[in-house]
Symmetry: C2
Subunit: 248 residues, 2 copies
DNA sequence: CGAGTCGTTGAGTCTCGTCAATAAGCGTGG
DNA sequence: CCACGCTTATTGACGAGACTCAACGACTCG
């Protein structure tokens, strides 16, 4: 498998950092990418507090960002899927702000940060892609907030599954049938629920005929109901926010 | 008040976008800043879905980012304080991803995005500052997660007040005594609680002698207890995450 | 002065967390 | 190959804590 594959893979998701570059510049990016590697399940890519060496592009597999609370408990911040760039939170301080570990076998591209940054300074298009990527991360926080701020367990879990389903779709997999790469404990942690509640809610969804659940194997049997339950965001409603309210 | 003040104000917080530039470059940034303006309470700077015109630097006052859920309810994403740059989530799509409105009288600098971006391409230091700013935003999500994912109302509110206290400190105000610029309803919305619960928890804190509460006026009378309750994050613990677990 | 908003407090209900028991799955090693 | 321990998931019983509904006072703004 040659280096170009790394880019091709990323293209399956909305943004590839260097997809828009001229071929000659494209090659310069490829030159600084360290040979991609395969990482087994439950390994760490970096730990909180280590100094920023590289950004990583997740080509396949899934991962989690997490931290340790004062009481020594794990706190999951984000789950990651193919196309995600890992380590963006480290740029501000120069140190990774969280731990990153794999949930299953992953393939990653390593992007040594210093050389990459220097190259980005030379190539405005590349730099802009990086900005866009970080901006997307900021914009997505909004969705993740919904997962946790909502009180009801069914809505949280449904939103989570909906996000997951969408992520799988973006990677070219089925949105209806998929395997969870994270356990009930991790889902509960992420959603701010007790793991028993997560388990019960899965059972409840199954009883209602919305899902078929077999351990980590999920089959969505009523996608419309799932989407409805997970109450997505919508654009701004004029009635809530009249236009004269905004000052330009 | 001249334009340089804008930068001076930002310096009260950790990062000013152009504080490290050479004087000649510094001036170029100032040239593209639109004259800062004062915005009254409860006004909008931009709305979700509008195309990205400018980033805004909040010089004084406070604001909130919010969105409207499917049911037409407001959902507060973040509160903003002096030094924050507003609109970063819009860079990825070219459209603002949320609504931004002021909580009290604000002073803002407008940074027209296109000219600013072009300038950043020429000035690596400026560009790097922008990256760092966005990275910080991403890293901070972790803190905001804690506010909502934690089940207990007292811990959520204590964490919130602790964050707020720190923000006020960074702006040069007292960390012990301050006025909340947001109402109980907004705090409840942000923390994912019922407003009655927020009100009750304030009363509880007061009964315990941790706070003095008079409407929106807060005086922290036991800062240590507040910090303790709000269980902050800590760095990585070796016992939880042995070093050989990470693969380089 | 009255309407509306905001904050507080009480009573009752219900969801979800805790504790506990059980079963299923997995890897290890005899 | 099976026994064993460990982890993971499910389910039940119970209670604490938070939400809902409601009433009330304080304050602001026309």
């Amino acid at each position: 498998m040659n280096r170009t594959d790394c880019c091709l893979d990323c293209l399956t998701k909305k943004t590839c950092l260097w997809s828009d570059l001229r071929p000659v510049d494209h090659q310069r990016v490829l030159n600084i990418i360290k040979q991609h590697s395969t990482v087994r399940r439950n390994r760490g890519l970096f730990r909180a507090g280590e100094s920023l060496r590289s950004l990583y592009i997740l080509r396949s597999g899934s991962a989690k960002s997490w931290n340790v609370s004062e009481e020594g408990e794990e706190r999951i911040i984000r789950f990651h899927f193919p196309g995600d760039v890992l380590g963006l939170g480290a740029i501000s301080s120069g140190f990774y702000d969280c731990n990153l570990s794999t949930l299953d076998t992953c393939s990653v591209c390593e992007l040594p940060f210093k050389p990459f940054q220097r190259l980005a300074e030379e190539l405005p298009d590349l730099n802009y892609q990086l900005l866009k990527l970080m901006s997307r991360e900021i914009a997505q926080e909004e969705q993740r907030i919904f997962l946790r701020a909502n009180r009801s367990a069914p809505v949280r879990l449904a939103s989570f599954l909906n996000c997951l389903s969408r992520s799988f779709g973006e990677c070219g997999y089925s949105t209806r049938e998929f395997n969870l790469t994270m356990g009930r404990r991790e889902i509960a942690n992420y959603l701010g629920l007790a793991l028993e509640t997560v388990s019960r809610t899965f059972s409840q969804f199954q009883d209602e005929g919305m899902l078929q659940v077999e351990g980590r194997r999920i089959c969505v049997t009523n996608q419309a109901r799932l989407a409805q339950l997970s109450g997505k965001y919508m654009g701004l409603d004029e009635s809530v926010c009249p236009s004269r309210w905004v000052c330009h």
